[in-house]
């Protein structure tokens, strides 16, 4: 038993850290470390910086222009980036549609769609959920009917994250309404500029426009944008959902936020003592730190199995459940640490570089919106209830 990374992996980590010191844009870094909302250009600036270094596709194989890193290297990279204050990589192109195109797309599709994802010149969004199809995704109703060399698509997608920036959407559509729900689904790539597409914002409780409804009305999609075979889309969808595992626990993000919580707890006091020394509050910090410690090792065990080509399978659900709960708890504790300063809620004052008359410590301006925002973590990507179903069924055999 050895919990340490190999010497090569440690050298690799230093290389990543060194790159981060030199090339992570400082404005973006400052935003991430302070919980400021990121915009499109922040994400793209980071993707372009990575691309310039040849690291645009950290989880991609070398043959498609990726780094060809091992799962362990990918993990090390993700963790180092998160801890240094790099934004998360926008997953919809890089980690969601790209692996599907690589595995099931044809050569023409690979040549057309993969390079702009790597370079950060095309933005993708996900067309999975529908108003009536959330946890029960296979009940989706968006219809695609073949008409010559096109499909005509009608329906409505929802929870489309950052769809307002997207150039393309990958959609699950129903091509055979008579088959069993899972059998009649196809996987289509649709240009967001197509006539008949309307994007409507959904405002979330933190006041932000992050998610959208996407309405498709007689949208004509070239048949060449079908991935793989018609009616096999569910297989590709499941492949996609199961693909991104190394970073699902968000260990690096949690470590970064834990450090931020401790910084806040050093500045805030109770009975004249920093909260970090307060018996009750420090016990809460200790509890979440220990929880994170356990999850990190669980994550490494899953990673290790993956590196030995033992399929990690449903263990990813453990990582998703614990990872999301820990991140939510960290933000909850930050709102606790700032006390009454958690109540003021002025969106302008949460922006980077705000200079106005807002009487809160800088570190106290963002935890509340993030606490509200991160309620989504236990809901999206397969709600934690669905993850527990997977564990009961797939691991426990119940």
């Amino acid at each position: 038993m050895d919990l340490n990374f190999t010497t090569e992996d440690q050298t690799f980590r230093e290389e990543v850290r060194s790159f981060l010191r030199d090339h992570l844009p400082s404005g973006v870094r400052h935003k991430v470390l302070n919980g400021t909302h990121l915009d499109r250009d922040d994400y793209l600036a980071w993707q372009r910086a990575l691309h310039a270094r040849g690291w645009g596709g950290p989880s991609w194989p070398a043959e498609f222009g990726g780094t060809g890193w091992t799962p362990v290297q990918q993990y090390i990279f993700d963790e180092a980036c998160a801890e240094a204050g790099a934004p998360r990589l926008v997953p919809f192109g890089l980690k969601m549609v790209a692996p599907v195109i690589m595995a099931f797309g044809n050569k023409a599709q690979q040549d057309r769609f993969l390079p702009p994802i790597l370079a950060g010149t095309e933005w993708w969004c996900q067309g999975y959920s529908e108003p009536g199809a959330g946890s029960d995704l296979a009940s989706l109703k968006t219809r695609a009917v073949r008409d010559g060399d096109h499909y005509v698509v009608n329906g409505q997608k929802t929870w489309t994250t950052l769809g307002q920036y997207a150039d393309w959407i990958f959609c699950l559509v129903r091509t055979d309404p008579d088959a069993k729900p899972q059998r009649g689904i196809s996987f289509l790539l649709i240009d967001m500029k197509s006539p008949g597409i309307t994007v409507r914002p959904i405002i979330t409780m933190d006041g932000l426009h992050e998610v959208n409804e996407v309405w498709l009305e007689d949208v004509r999609v070239p048949a060449e944008n079908l991935i793989g075979e018609e009616n096999k889309g569910w297989t590709y969808a499941k492949f996609l959902l199961g693909h991104e595992r190394t970073n699902i626990a968000g260990i690096g993000i949690a470590k970064r936020e834990l450090a931020r919580l401790k910084r806040i707890a050093t500045s805030e006091t109770r009975h004249g003592q920093p909260l970090l020394q307060d018996p009750l509050f420090s016990a809460e910090i200790a509890r979440v730190e220990i929880d994170l410690m356990a999850l990190e090792i669980t994550n490494l065990r899953v990673l290790s199995a993956e590196a030995e080509n033992r399929a990690p399978g449903p263990e990813a659900s453990i990582l998703k459940i614990k990872g999301s709960e820990i991140q939510q708890r960290l933000l909850e504790l930050m709102t606790e640490a700032i006390g009454p300063q958690a109540l003021p809620f002025d969106r302008d004052a949460m922006a980077a570089g705000y200079q106005g008359d807002y009487p809160l410590a800088a570190y106290a301006r963002t935890p509340t919106w993030q606490y509200l925002n991160l309620r989504k973590l236990t809901i999206y990507g397969g709600s934690n209830e669905i993850q527990r179903n997977i564990i009961s069924q797939m691991i426990l055999g119940l």
Binding site: S129, G132, G134, S135, D136, S139, T158, W159, I202, I203, T204, M205, G207, V211, T269, R270, H271, D278, L280, F281, E284, E332, T335, E336, G339, P340, Q341, A342, L343, P344, F345, D346, A349, D357, Y358, P359, T368, Y371, L372, R375, K376, T378, I379, Y380, S383, N384, E385, R388
Partner: protein, 372 residues
């Protein structure tokens, strides 16, 4: 032992609940919280017309002279409507403070306007860094000639920008005193912002604010009265929490009955049934402690009173967190949208948990009584 309410109390609940359901629908509330003022004068006048602003006003000043049980019941009804008007601050805490401390002339002048709805008074006590240590007041009032000069800062004062007058606690030579400060007094500056729950709050900066003797409430050290007023506020807040908790639970159960996934109502899934059962347990435990708070808030033994109220805030605060979070979770993606009222309940529950000390702050306070 008797947990029933009197006929008068039930009528009071009816009155308040009917007003909320008729005048304070979700759309109306959205318009109010989106408006410049962040409150509705018409709603405030409506509360005055029903006599609800006179609830804690003594009979001599034309009020109902009601107690903490009535206050709890009204607050609970208003909580169900997620009311953002300054009821707690003006009609409960400030009214109680004035009734307890003010002289006859002051009472006549202020209370009459307050119960008529023409004067809103914000209770401005909290300070940055005090962390709800109730007597950690650093704002100072220095005697000068026949009056006082006030300097200091009051932090996250709910409704300060909507009030005509602020009741400000300040340290004086012989303890802590309360001062009535008109909002437009020279030297008073407000930095106003929205609160997470849609209400308005402000930091109040006081710089060389001159007040004549007639603006001081009572003589000597008013710390004991201040503590009693804060406890009255906390007990009333627990009452409000009950209303929001009940609405959150009811809304969630209704959603679980109608939302279908995998061909069945999601309320048929046992995992969610147990979750909602736990939500109900939290609500009922919070109800019990809110009753306790309403009874003990009149206890003259300040230590015993404070312990009971802290215990209540722990249970109520934890209920706010659990019920709020699970209500959103069970609503799924819809739960995080601004469009459904459940996210507004969630934010109010979050704010209540953070008001007058969090559950953890009160656990700390209670813990300290064990060895005392």
């Amino acid at each position: 032992m008797d947990f029933t309410f009197t006929e008068e109390q039930n009528m009071l609940v009816d009155t308040a609940e009917r007003f909320v359901s008729k005048e304070y629908g979700f759309e109306t509330r959205n318009r109010i919280i989106g408006s410049e003022a962040g409150m509705s004068k018409a709603v405030w006048q409506g509360l005055a017309d029903l006599g609800l602003l006179a609830l804690l006003v003594p009979e001599e000043e034309g009020g109902l002279n009601a107690g903490p049980v009535e206050t709890m019941l009204v607050m609970s009804a208003l909580g169900k409507g997620l009311l953002v008007e300054p009821y707690l601050s003006s009609a409960v805490m400030s009214t109680r403070a004035i009734a307890a401390l003010a002289g006859a002339e002051q009472r006549a002048e202020w209370l009459e306007q307050m119960l008529a709805g023409t004067l809103i008074v914000a209770f401005a006590h909290d300070e940055h860094g005090a962390r709800h240590d109730p007597l950690a007041v650093e704002t100072r009032a220095v005697r000068i000639g026949d009056g006082y000069l006030l300097d200091g800062r009051k932090s996250v004062i709910r409704h300060a920008s909507q009030a005509g007058m602020l009741l400000i606690s300040a340290r004086v030579d012989d303890g802590i005193a309360l001062f009535a400060v008109d909002r437009d007094t020279p030297g008073v500056r407000l930095a106003t912002y929205p609160s997470v729950d849609g209400a308005r709050a402000a930091d109040v900066f006081l710089e060389q604010v001159y007040l004549p003797e007639s603006r001081r409430l009572g003589q000597g050290d008013s710390s004991d009265t201040l503590l009693a007023v804060l406890d009255t506020g906390l007990a009333a807040l627990c009452g409000e929490a009950l209303g929001v908790l009940q609405r959150s639970l009811d809304t969630t159960i209704e959603y679980a009955r109608t939302r279908k996934q995998f061909g069945v109502q999601i309320g048929k899934f046992q995992a969610l049934q147990h979750r909602m059962a736990d939500m109900l347990i939290h609500v009922e435990q919070a109800r019990s402690m809110t009753y306790l708070a309403a009874v003990r808030v009149l206890d003259n033994d300040a230590a015993r009173r404070a312990a009971a109220l802290s215990a209540a805030k722990v249970v109520v605060g934890e209920a706010c967190r659990f019920v709020g979070q699970q209500a959103v979770q069970i609503h799924g993606g819809m739960g995080v949208t601004d469009e459904l009222d459940i996210s507004h309940c969630f934010k109010r529950l979050f704010a209540i948990e953070k008001t007058f000390g969090s559950a953890l702050d009160h656990l700390d306070r209670y813990r300290r009584t064990l060895a005392a």
